[in-house]
């Protein structure tokens, strides 16, 4: 149906009807995308070239001034590094811990279903709620972590007030909240690996470790790939936990690119620079996606 081109559509009545049907089906979706996605995208691009504070009636065009200001700000590069640390650690830990937990609860254990439910429950909780609860856990004077550390004779660092500990704290909360999702996806992957492969490996004399490396891991690679892409994109856009837990602080220790975008737009009211940040994020995510689709997917063994 989609192969009908407008030029030939004028010919036969049937083709025209198909063309109209196509338009009727695609139209509503396209309109929604145009209004809520493409138009804001273009408008954002425009905003990145003007100087505007959301209030003044004039929006003077300043060409690349906003871009220059954003990229020459030393804070920007600290924030970019923060984002890299946050993303790499969060995604890496989520994938690794998720795999370990998935392998564990894939065993025929008692209360397996209860364990799965417990692991998955943080995923469906609101990020703001999770962050509020953790802010109490992290409190250096009466928090749960302080008490746990007290048992082993250590005193709690000021998790959210100390620039050295704030980022690890945010990563910890992020991984805790999202690891359940990885576990569920991994579990589905594990159950999709044909039993015959394991049987065959056993016949060939492969031990548990060999079976893991040569059957389980390759079998999981499409799932791991899917998880790495979705986690990376989600992590890049993760805002709620940082906002509630630290407000990007102390100073800018936990400010990520997305938080910086919010900060520029809705705290500083600098629509131009916020527009630049949005374009930067768009570019980074587009590049990451293309790289992952082009290079990583080739190596994935679809079972």
């Amino acid at each position: 149906m989609t192969s009908v081109s407008p030029r030939t559509a004028g010919g036969s009545r049937r083709e025209r009807r198909e063309w109209l049907l196509f338009a009727a089906l695609i139209g509503p979706n396209l309109a929604l995308f145009a209004i809520f996605t493409y138009w804001p995208l273009l408008y954002n691009l425009y905003l990145s070239f003007v100087r505007w504070n959301f209030l003044r009636p004039r929006k003077p065009f300043v060409w690349l001034d906003n871009y220059i200001e954003v990229f020459t700000d030393t804070q920007f590069w600290i924030i970019a590094l923060n984002t890299l640390t946050f993303t790499v650690c969060s995604v890496g830990l989520t994938l690794l811990i998720g795999l370990a937990l998935a392998l564990l609860i894939n065993q025929p254990l008692r209360y397996r279903n209860a364990a799965r439910a417990v692991l998955f429950s943080p995923v469906i909780m609101s990020g703001a709620v999770v962050a509020v609860v953790w802010s109490y856990i992290f409190d250096p004077r009466y928090g749960l972590l302080d008490q746990i550390l007290g048992f082993v004779g250590a005193s709690s660092p000021d998790w959210l007030g100390d620039p050295r500990w704030a980022m690890p704290a945010v990563i910890l909360v992020y991984v805790w909240k999202n690891v359940g999702y990885a576990v569920v996806i991994y579990l589905a992957g594990l159950q999709g690996i044909p039993r015959e492969l394991y049987d065959a490996a056993r016949v060939d004399g492969a031990g548990a470790v060999d079976r893991f490396w040569h059957v389980t891991l390759p079998g999981l690679s499409p799932v791991a790939f899917f998880l790495s892409v979705t986690s990376l994109l989600a992590c890049f856009q993760s805002f709620d936990i940082v906002k509630v837990l630290t407000d990007g602080g102390p100073a800018i220790a936990t400010t990520t690119l997305i938080y910086h975008l919010y900060d520029l737009g809705f705290v500083s009211y600098d629509a131009g620079k916020a527009g630049v940040m949005a374009m930067v994020l768009f570019g980074v995510m587009l590049a990451l996606t293309v790289i992952q689709l082009r290079y990583v997917e080739e190596r994935v063994a679809y079972a």
Partner: protein, 482 residues
């Protein structure tokens, strides 16, 4: 199974990536896109009941919306105020809508102006009203005031004058406050200190050694606590800067963050936390003070009633300590009426403002919160006199007022100036960065932020209508040139 999942997985993946990639832009672009949205209709509420003068029967009340920032105990006091007004007469009904913090209220008001769905009265903080003034978004109130027979001469001049531009009143003081030194009398007594606030910061540093308790390297009980940037450290630091004979800026918007005295004050702040280690940077000073985590702090007078209620110990208050001299800024928030509110609602809004800041109401509000009585005559009312006798802490609040002054332009007139300075102070205190370097950055950022304000001011105040026309303001109906 395996064959079909292979395809759907890829498709799903692509779909999710595509939607993920654009979601972020949709999120960011949506708000700025709003200006395109308002339709040709001018009045936001077409159904507004214009109280028809011809019909004498059935007085139809004008309902107006009031956006404010008070929650908790302050919110209850605010709701009581609105209720008292609604019950005192039948012409105007006020609907109070809580909008979040001062920052969030300003944020929503900004968005509301774009979408043209504005409130009729809005509470704006010391750092926000000016931005809306330069944007022409809030109305001069003098004509309205004379219509409701409101006499501005009875207001505390130091508070009232801040909201005056070119002889016109734009911002009526309502929940106005100053910083106050709070101390925990119990800890003070245990440390063997006299029952008063320290006269100078040197004295405080001396006392601090007796107040601070350490558990290894971490402070378990601090002598003093600073708020963070989001909780307006730049407001409290304003007073300290003056105490060191520095300032944020000159009245002509020249920034003076790198002035040696300003830097000295910053160095002092850094030392309290990093070198001498008797102060902490707190996420919530009120909570840490009432929880006994810090023995003293500086906080708004507006929190006095709440702090006294929450604290399990006797609360002492005093004037701010001195360094080279005394310095204390005013702060808090006031009421304004949007320019584009229809005239009948403007009048109704003004009636509410007159009520909320009347001699009696100002007294009720001050007694239940700790904010300043904004009327001169309030202090003489019998209720207030007895109240001061019974609550000497509240007397201190009022006694300090004549010693205060309006803040430097850098914090209150430069849009986001408060947060720029606050973030800088966080870098100095938390990261231990050198005040020279950080305040040089802050100075540059403030200078850049001041440029458009000066431009707008010139357009609005110097050339008046001509300036407005030149800057293109008249193209939008709501900035009608009067």
């Amino acid at each position: 199974m395996e064959n079909t999942t292979k395809l759907t997985r890829r498709q799903m993946l692509r779909g999710m990536i595509a939607s993920g990639g654009v979601a972020i832009l949709a999120a960011c672009g949506a708000a700025p896109a709003a200006p395109a949205a308002p339709a040709a209709t001018d009045a936001p509420a077409a159904a507004a009941p214009t109280s028809a003068p011809a019909v004498a029967a059935a007085p139809s009340a004008t309902t107006i919306t009031y956006w404010g920032s008070f929650s908790g105990g302050l919110g209850e006091a605010e709701a009581a105020m609105v209720k008292a007004f609604n019950e005192s007469q039948s012409e105007v009904q006020v609907e109070y809508q809580f909008q979040g913090s001062y920052e969030e209220t300003a944020q929503k008001f900004t968005a509301a102006l774009q979408a043209n769905t504005i409130p009729d009265v809005v509470l704006l903080s010391d750092v926000w009203w000016f931005s809306f003034y330069t944007a022409g978004a809030i109305a001069p109130l003098d004509d309205l005031a004379s219509q409701v027979k409101l006499d501005f001469s009875d207001y505390e001049p130091v508070l009232l004058d801040e909201g005056v531009r070119q002889g016109k009143h734009y911002w009526v003081p309502f929940a106005r406050s100053t910083p106050l030194f709070y101390y925990n009398k119990q800890i003070w007594q245990e440390a063997g200190l006299p029952d008063r606030s320290p006269d100078t910061w040197a004295e405080m540093a001396d006392w601090a050694t007796k107040l601070v308790k350490k558990d290894g390297d971490t402070i378990s009980q601090a002598a003093f606590a600073h708020p963070n940037g989001a909780s307006y450290i730049a407001w409290l630091f304003q007073g300290v800067v003056w105490q060191f004979n520095g300032q944020y800026s000159n009245p002509d918007f020249t920034m003076t963050m790198t002035d040696p005295n300003t830097l000295r004050a910053a160095q002092f702040y850094q030392d309290t936390v990093n070198k001498d280690k008797w102060a902490i940077l707190s996420q919530d000073v009120n909570k840490d003070f009432t929880g006994g985590i810090t023995a003293s702090t500086m906080a708004s007078t507006g929190g006095l009633a709440g702090i006294q209620k929450a604290a399990a110990f006797p609360v002492g208050v005093g004037f701010l300590p001195k360094a080279d001299s005394f310095g204390c800024p005013t702060g808090g928030s006031g009421l304004a009426i949007p320019t584009s509110t229809p005239d009948d609602k403007k009048l109704a809004a003004m009636k509410y403002i007159a009520f909320a800041t009347s001699t009696e109401s100002a007294g009720v509000w001050a007694r239940s919160t700790g904010y300043m009585p904004v009327r001169l005559s309030t202090k003489e009312t019998p209720e207030m006199v007895t109240f001061f006798d019974e609550n000497p802490n509240f007397k201190t609040v009022v006694d300090q007022l004549p010693l205060t002054r309006a803040q430097d332009a850098a914090r209150v007139f430069v849009r986001n100036g408060d947060q720029i300075i606050g973030k800088g102070l966080e870098r100095i205190i938390v990261n231990g960065e050198s005040p020279d370097a950080v305040f040089a950055d802050v100075n540059a950022e403030l200078t850049k932020g001041a440029a458009p304000i000066l431009e707008d001011l010139k357009a609005i105040e110097a050339g008046a209508c001509a300036g407005l026309r030149r800057s293109g303001l008249r193209r939008r109906r709501r900035w009608r040139c009067r």
